[in-house]
């Protein structure tokens, strides 16, 4: 296979406890730490391992966002991606548009694999990979915790509710990755220096000729209903009594 495209979405870091703005217009993202979506880091790691085993020639990191996403692409380049593409947008695009962007790039680059995260931890939509599979008319192997390539096919182990499902797919294909697929590598300082010289191309969404899907409007945001701190019992006997009081034991 020639190329693997990897999606790297810029999201609020997973350690940040996200707060809803007091006027309900959104969540507070000013001054908050931003990172690569953790699933996307795993997708990139897997793509790099595939290339290192000699099963692919080039790994291309793709992000859709504002100029700020260059930061995540540079990190991806430092991890080992060969080059990066930033598709610039003014507003956060809907999942269908993101899938259409990946379709356009996959066709243009003649990608053998598109590797994405199983979900972005901000929107928690878990849609893009499945939509791309549908639009491209190619296999979608989602929630992957194992990927083995064999010529023009891939065997993917999927984490499903009932356990581990194995599917075999023809390439080209879309794979969305789960957390247990691998442990992403750490970026070393010399790699960061080297990454500065790697190509990072920008293309405007308008130049790809993509029509935005009918978006789902976000009307208002609210914090979740909180749970209250309850009682502390002294010992097992106290616990059993408390459970009995609630009719639970």
């Amino acid at each position: 296979m020639d190329k693997i495209l990897v999606g790297l979405k810029r999201v609020v870091d997973y350690n940040v406890r996200v707060q809803v703005k007091s006027d309900g217009s959104g969540v507070e993202t000013d001054g908050v730490k931003m990172s690569i979506n953790p699933f996307d880091e795993i997708a990139l790691e897997e793509a790099l391992r595939i290339k290192e085993r000699g099963d692919a020639n080039e790994v291309v990191a793709v992000s859709i966002g504002t100029a700020d996403s260059q930061q995540q692409l540079r990190t991806g380049l430092a991890m080992g991606a060969d080059r990066a593409i930033l598709v610039t947008v003014d507003e956060a695009p809907d999942p269908l548009s993101v899938a259409r962007i990946f379709l356009s790039l996959a066709e243009k680059e003649n990608a053998g694999l598109v590797m994405l995260g199983k979900q972005a931890i901000d929107g928690d939509n878990s849609q893009v990979a499945q939509m791309l599979g549908a639009l491209w008319g190619r296999p979608q192997a989602t929630f992957a915790s194992g990927v083995t390539l064999d010529g023009d096919t891939a065997r993917v182990i999927r984490e499903v509710d009932a356990g581990l499902e194995t599917v075999e797919v023809d390439l080209p294909a879309v794979i969305s990755v789960d957390l247990r697929l691998n442990e992403p590598r750490y970026v070393k300082l010399p790699d960061i220096m080297k990454a500065k010289k790697k190509p990072l191309d920008e293309v405007a969404l308008a130049d790809l000729g993509i029509e935005a899907g009918p978006p789902i409007k976000e009307l208002s945001f609210a914090p979740p209903e909180g749970r209250q701190r309850g009682i502390i019992v002294e010992d097992v006997a106290g616990l059993v009594t408390a459970l009995k009081d609630k009719g639970l034991a």
Partner: protein, 314 residues
């Protein structure tokens, strides 16, 4: 009238418990008229179970050998072809629905509403984002089919006792052969299913080994409870992956959840927010799990869990 199509999840024999919850969600839409579609190699048993759910108008079946296993690129075009006659197409927020429904949405040229927690109006819904740290009210566009997954932990199953009509449907759809189902490896267990169990006992990293995770099974078995785990416990190999509870595992809503040796990371808590009573056993009184626990016990699990197991015996 609002015509709603619900895609049945099943294993060839049994209808998944999530479907009665999707029906409950769909029933909360004004003027709901609900059909369930069963795609299978042989749909009989599953269709009969779906027909019993209160609120179901018709059960449609499409029987094809290709439908033996849930491959979304095979099921998707058939669902999309049927969707024309419906204002809404719903599936559960299980891995089945999460894989299939966005595929259907893309074929119909719409975005999906992921994880409906409540129906606010004909086109407005509440859904969680940022691991449940924010709830957003969204509005789907007018004039196109609404494709959605239902956050099953937010709904009580619709009652039984119905006898809806079952009828075959047929659609024209080209089915690809590029994706082949190979097999499913599932931990065989007599314990109640994690996603539907009334009580769940869950263990975290503190259990320290696969062997000691046995303490969790023992307590669960005494209580007739299902078993859950944190990502840390699964990653460390103490228990199988299908036990993971949380943002990227299962979202559950048992009446009772007992968290043992679990710190209470946001990603874990998002999976148990709707539990009735949360009990936490942790030796660190500062552990965040105590902020959400209804009953807390600050203690070493290796001392108190065996004691609790035998206390419940009597």
């Amino acid at each position: 009238m609002a015509k709603i199509l619900i895609v049945a999840e099943h294993d060839g024999k049994n209808l998944n418990a999530s479907i009665a919850k999707c029906v409950a969600c769909a029933s909360s839409i004004d003027g709901a008229e609900i059909d369930v579609i069963v795609l299978a190699a042989a749909a009989g048993d599953v269709a009969a179970q779906a027909a019993e759910i209160a609120g179901v108008n018709r059960v449609l079946t499409i029987e094809r050998p290709e439908n033996e296993h849930p491959v979304s690129s095979v099921l998707g075009p058939q669902v999309a072809a049927l969707a024309g006659g419906y204002a809404y197409v719903f599936g559960p927020s299980t891995t089945f629905g999460r894989d299939l429904m966005p595929h259907v949405a893309a074929l119909l040229g719409v975005n999906q509403v992921t994880d409906i927690m409540s129906v606010e109006g004909s086109h407005t819904f509440k859904r969680p984002i940022y691991a449940g740290n924010a709830i957003v009210t969204v509005e789907a566009p007018q004039g196109s089919t609404i494709v959605a997954t239902v956050r099953v932990a937010s709904y009580q199953a619709a009652a039984g006792g119905n006898s809806a009509t079952v009828e075959p449907a047929s659609v024209e759809a080209d089915l690809p052969a590029h994706t082949r189902y190979v097999g499913l490896e599932s931990a065989v267990s007599d314990r109640p299913d994690l996603q539907t169990a009334a009580s769940v006992v869950a263990g975290g990293r503190a259990l320290g080994s696969e062997e000691d995770f046995g303490l969790i099974y023992k307590l669960a078995d005494k209580m007739g409870a299902g078993v859950g785990a944190t990502r840390a416990a699964v990653d460390a190999g103490y228990c199988p992956n299908d036990m993971q509870v949380g943002q990227t595992g299962k979202i559950i809503a048992p009446d009772l959840y007992i968290a043992i040796g679990i710190s209470g990371a946001i990603q874990h808590l998002t999976g148990i927010k709707d539990a009735g009573t949360i009990v936490a056993i942790n030796k660190d009184e500062e552990a965040p799990i105590f902020e959400v626990a209804d009953i807390g016990l600050v203690a070493d699990l290796f001392d108190v869990v065996p004691e609790l197991t035998s206390a419940l015996e009597s």
